[in-house]
Symmetry: C2
DNA sequence: TGTAATAGTACCAATCTGGTACTATTTATC
DNA sequence: GATAAATAGTACCAGATTGGTACTATTACA
């Protein structure tokens, strides 16, 4: 379905939760799980990844927890997906050029690359804050702007 | 990975093959499989789906085969993905509103919907012919045009 | 009537995914 | 220090999905 994995989906929900309070306080995995109503072990797993990938800062020990590394409006959805799922690629030939045995015959690769770029430019143009607030209507603001935003 | 399934990937490769000859001749599954170097049973399976979904016309019996239902520049990549994978939805709440048990707490749904639209508007703006030829550079032609194309 | 094609299912093995469990390490607090 | 509360790092498992095959039925040309 060209579907994100649930893990990534949850990651975005969790980060949106972190972004909601502007003061960037730390929250423990337990707290985040309760607030977002997601299973705690899953939340732990995801927050670990997000910390490793540098989207969250972590603090170990008692009274430890996680906090956003920067404000929500400076974290893009594309960035989060990248953190959870590795390099963004809609087809194998984008992720690992030369490894697809059809590549010599196929001839679509460079154009796939463009499609890939367009899709992920769209995802990079959305920020966490866009998700939590109501962000500008794409019709009203014009599609060009949304895609060209960085 | 926000990755298309191989089936969809193959479907696009196959349709691109059909689009290459402008006169819209019919080709059998066997022929398409040989030309595109994809496994025949897989090709058969995919062509059946594409015919059922109305992107190919089929002709049974000896000398039968498949042909594009309309010219390549009028078939969008989004349409193909839809045909192969059903309604396009990056998250569960887009595909089946109300069924996700987190929906009441989550509050991201309407914004996911926007993201979904943006991604698939991008996919709808690409046509089969864009894939086979070299299509206009998105920078040069301006992103707005690509996204607003239908 | 024979042959070459699509239509429709049903099936299977292998991989991926969602989710859990366990141990090690770190750190605030008493 | 001892303790408790937190993250870090793995390893694991069952079920769903995916890539791929096989088989039978139907259609239509020659």
């Amino acid at each position: 379905m060209i579907r994100m994995s649930k893990e990534t989906d949850y990651a975005i929900v969790l980060l949106a939760y972190f972004a909601k309070d502007q003061d960037g306080l730390k929250h423990s995995a337990r707290e985040a799980a309760m607030e977002s109503q997601l299973p705690l072990p899953m939340v732990r797993k995801i927050l670990k990844v997000l910390a490793r990938e540098g989207l969250l800062v972590s603090h170990r020990g008692a009274k430890g927890g996680y906090g956003l590394v920067r404000r929500g409006e400076r974290i893009s959805i594309g960035e989060i997906i990248k953190a959870m799922e590795g390099p963004l690629a809609v087809t194998e030939c984008i992720e690992a050029p030369g490894e697809c045995r059809h590549e010599p015959v196929c001839g679509l690769r460079t154009n796939w690359q463009r499609i890939n770029e367009i899709v992920f430019e769209a995802l990079d143009s959305m920020t966490l804050s866009d998700l939590t607030g109501s962000f500008p209507d794409p019709i009203a603001s014009g599609p060009g702007e949304l895609v060209s935003l960085q």
